[in-house]
C-alpha cells in the first residue's frame, strides 16, 4: 500500500520534471543566460541610482565612475533632515494623495466593472467605448478647462480635487481590468447569493469582492502608481506653498535648482521609489493572474 502510494507520487512528479530533464544543458544555460541578462538590464538603472546616492555630489560626476567612492549615507540624512526642501511634508502629502486615489479609484472601478460584467443595461457599450476614448485624449491639454472646473467646484488647490483628477486617469483602465476579472468569476455564485437573500449590492460586496483579490491588487497597484509619480497635474493644481507639494513636484523643483547635486538627487529618488517598490512587492504575486484575465477578456 505504501509502496503503491509512493510510486504513484513518483509518476506524478515525473510530468513536470521530465520537461526540465528534456532540455539539454546547453539550452538550460541559454535560458538562464537570457533571463540573467534581461534581469540585469531591468534592475541596473535603479541599482546605479542607489550606488550614486551613496556618493558625495563631486564623486557622482567623475569621468570614470567607480562602484564605491567615499560612500556614506550622508545624502540621505541631509535630505531627511530637510536641508534640501521640506521632504517629509512632501512625503506625507504624496502618501495621502496616492492612498486616497487608490481607494476611490479601485472602489469606483469595481462597482462599474461589476455592473458592466453582470448586468445588461442600455448604454453599457457606449460607456465602455467612452473609457477607451478617455485614454486617447492627451490629458495635458485638458489642464486649462480642468483648472476652470476645479475653481468652479471650489476644489482648486485642494488635495481632493487632485485625487479626483487622478481618478479619471486611473478609473477607465482599472474598470476594463476588473470587468475582465469579474467575467472569470462564475455567475452561479451571484445566483446562489441572491437565492440566499442578498441584494445585488450584497452579492457584489460580500461574495464577489473577496473573490476578486488578484484583480483588485493589480488595479490598486496601477492606481497607486498613477498618483504617486505624476508631475504635471500636481504642479498645476496644488497650491505653490512649499508644504503642500507632493514628492514628485518637490523633487522636480529640486532638480531644476540643483542640477549638479547628482548624489542628493539620487538619494531623494531612492526615497521616492521605496514606497512604490513596497506596494509592488505586496501585489506582485497577483500581477500575472490579475492582469491576464483582465486583458484576455478585454
Amino acid at each position: 500500500m505504501t509502496l503503491d502510494a509512493s510510486s504513484l507520487k513518483v509518476v506524478q512528479a515525473a510530468g513536470p520534471v521530465r520537461k526540465r530533464a528534456d532540455r539539454s544543458p546547453l539550452a538550460s544555460i541559454g535560458l538562464h543566460g537570457a533571463l540573467v541578462i534581461a534581469s540585469i538590464i531591468s534592475v541596473f538603472p535603479v541599482f546605479w541610482v542607489f550606488i550614486t546616492s551613496l556618493k558625495p555630489d563631486a564623486r557622482a560626476v567623475e569621468p570614470s565612475p567607480k562602484l564605491f567612492n567615499e560612500s556614506s549615507v550622508d545624502n540621505y540624512t541631509r535630505i531627511l533632515a530637510g536641508d534640501k526642501g521640506n521632504f517629509l511634508a512632501w512625503f506625507g502629502n504624496s502618501v495621502v494623495i496616492a492612498l486616497l486615489t487608490t481607494v476611490i479609484a479601485v472602489f469606483l472601478s469595481a462597482t462599474t466593472g461589476y455592473a458592466a460584467s453582470r448586468f445588461r443595461f442600455p448604454g453599457k457599450r457606449s460607456l465602455m467605448m467612452s473609457f477607451l476614448l478617455v485614454q486617447m485624449f492627451p490629458f495635458a491639454v485638458l489642464i486649462v478647462p480642468l483648472y476652470n472646473i476645479l475653481i468652479a467646484l471650489g476644489l482648486n488647490g485642494s488635495t481632493f480635487g487632485l485625487v479626483l483628477v487622478y481618478c479619471t486617469t486611473a478609473v477607465p483602465f482599472c474598470t476594463y481590468m476588473l470587468k475582465g476579472y469579474f467575467d472569470t468569476v462564475p455567475s452561479d455564485i451571484d445566483e446562489a447569493g441572491r437565492v440566499d437573500g442578498l441584494s445585488p449590492f450584497g452579492v457584489f460586496w460580500r461574495l464577489i469582492m473577496p473573490l476578486a483579490k488578484p484583480g483588485l491588487a493589480v488595479t490598486s497597484f496601477y492606481a497607486f502608481l498613477t498618483a504617486w509619480g505624476e508631475v504635471a497635474f500636481a504642479s498645476a493644481f496644488l497650491s505653490a506653498a512649499d508644504e503642500s507639494k507632493t514628492l514628485a513636484v518637490g523633487l522636480q523643483v529640486f532638480v531644476q535648482q540643483n542640477r549638479t547635486e547628482w548624489g542628493h538627487l539620487a538619494a531623494a529618488s531612492i526615497l521616492v521609489a521605496i514606497p512604490a517598490i513596497v506596494v509592488f512587492y505586496l501585489v506582485q504575486r497577483f500581477l500575472v493572474t490579475g492582469l491576464a484575465s483582465g486583458a484576455v477578456k478585454g
Binding site: 565612475p65 472601478s109 512604490a276
Partner: protein, 305 residues
C-alpha cells in the same frame, strides 16, 4: 419609465459615480478644449478668475487647423512631427511586444528561480516614471554616464546621446522600451498560462516542431490578449509625454505630437492654449481613425471585440 428603472436601477446606481466624474472632469473639459481650437485663446486673453479679468479671446474659425496642418515650422512642423510620432510609437510597441513575448515565453518554462526572475523583470514598472527618467538621463550623460564609459572601455564610439541629433530619439526609445516591456510581459505571461496544456501535447503527438507549436498553438492562443495590449500600448505610447519631456526636454529631435502640445502649453511667452488644444484634437482624431481601422482588421479575422 418605472419598469425601466425597476429593472436597471442597481446597474445604474453602480455606474453612476463614474459617469458623473468622467462627464464633469473629462467630457466637459474635452468639449471646452474642442471649442478652444476655434479661438485664439492664450495666457494673455483667457478669463482669470483670480484677477477677476474677463475673457477677451475671439473666435477665429478654422485658422488654427489651417496653420497647423500647413506644416509650418512655427506651428511645430505637423507632418514631420507626425512621422516622428509614428516611428516612436511603432518602434516602442514593436520592441515592447517582441521582448515582452520573448521574456514571457522564457518565464513560462520550468526554470529555477522563476519567481525571482519575475520580480526583477517587472521592477521597471514599479519605479515612478520621473525617477527612471532621472536614472537614464544620468546614465546617458556623455561625459560621466556609465553607458559611454562602457562603450569607451570596449573601444566603441561614444555618441552624445541626448544632444541635437537623432541619437536623442534612439535614447528615449530605449528608455521607453525598458519602461514598457514589463507590462507586456506580464499580460502575455498571463495569456500563455491560459492556453490549455492539452493543445501542446496534442501538437507534440502530431509531430509538430517547436516552431510549429509556437506558430499554430501559442500565437493563436495569445491573439485576444495581444489585440488588447497592443491597442492599449499604441494609445499610451502615442500619448507618452513624461519620458520624452523629462529626459530630452524640448529637443526638436525627440518632438512628438504630445510633447509639442505641452511645449505650446507650458513654455514660451504666449502660452498658446489654442494651438495646444488643436494638437490635442488632432491627436485624438488620429487615434480614433487608427482604433476604427484596427477594430475592423480584427473583425475580419473573426475577432469580436
Amino acid at each position: 419609465m418605472r419598469r425601466f428603472l425597476d429593472r436597471y436601477w442597481y446597474a445604474y446606481a453602480m455606474v453612476l459615480p463614474v459617469v458623473v466624474v468622467i462627464a464633469v472632469l473629462v467630457l466637459y473639459p474635452l468639449a471646452q478644449g474642442v471649442f478652444f481650437t476655434f479661438t485664439n485663446i492664450n495666457e494673455g486673453n483667457i478669463a482669470n478668475p483670480i484677477l477677476e479679468r474677463p475673457a477677451t479671446y475671439d473666435v477665429v474659425g478654422f485658422k488654427n487647423y489651417l496653420n497647423v496642418l500647413s506644416g509650418g515650422e512655427s506651428f511645430g512642423a505637423f507632418w514631420s512631427t507626425l512621422v516622428r510620432t509614428l516611428i516612436w510609437t511603432f518602434s516602442c510597441v514593436f520592441f515592447h511586444y517582441t521582448i515582452g513575448l520573448g521574456l514571457a515565453l522564457l518565464l513560462n518554462r520550468q526554470v529555477k528561480g522563476r519567481t525571482l526572475y519575475r520580480v526583477l523583470l517587472i521592477l521597471p514598472w514599479a519605479v515612478p516614471a520621473f525617477i527612471s527618467a532621472f536614472a537614464w538621463k544620468y546614465m546617458f550623460n556623455a561625459q560621466y554616464g556609465i553607458i559611454n564609459q562602457l562603450l569607451r572601455s570596449v573601444g566603441l564610439p561614444d555618441p552624445v546621446w541626448l544632444g541635437q541629433s537623432n541619437w536623442a530619439l534612439v535614447s528615449v526609445i530605449i528608455v521607453n522600451v525598458w519602461l514598457g516591456t514589463p507590462f507586456m510581459m506580464v499580460a502575455l505571461l498571463g495569456g500563455l498560462q491560459s492556453i490549455p496544456g492539452d493543445l501542446y501535447e496534442a501538437a507534440e503527438m502530431d509531430g509538430a516542431t517547436p516552431w510549429q507549436r509556437f506558430r499554430h498553438v501559442t500565437l493563436p492562443g495569445l491573439r485576444s490578449v495581444s489585440s488588447t495590449v497592443v491597442l492599449l500600448g499604441i494609445i499610451w505610447t502615442f500619448n507618452m509625454f513624461p519620458v520624452i519631456y523629462l529626459i530630452a526636454g524640448p529637443n526638436p529631435n525627440t518632438r512628438i505630437l504630445v510633447t509639442y502640445a505641452f511645449e505650446r502649453f507650458f513654455s514660451g511667452a504666449s502660452r498658446d492654449y489654442a494651438i495646444a488644444s488643436t494638437y490635442g484634437v488632432l491627436i485624438l482624431s488620429v487615434l480614433l481613425v487608427f482604433a476604427a481601422v484596427y477594430r475592423r482588421a480584427l473583425r475580419k479575422q473573426g475577432e469580436v471585440w
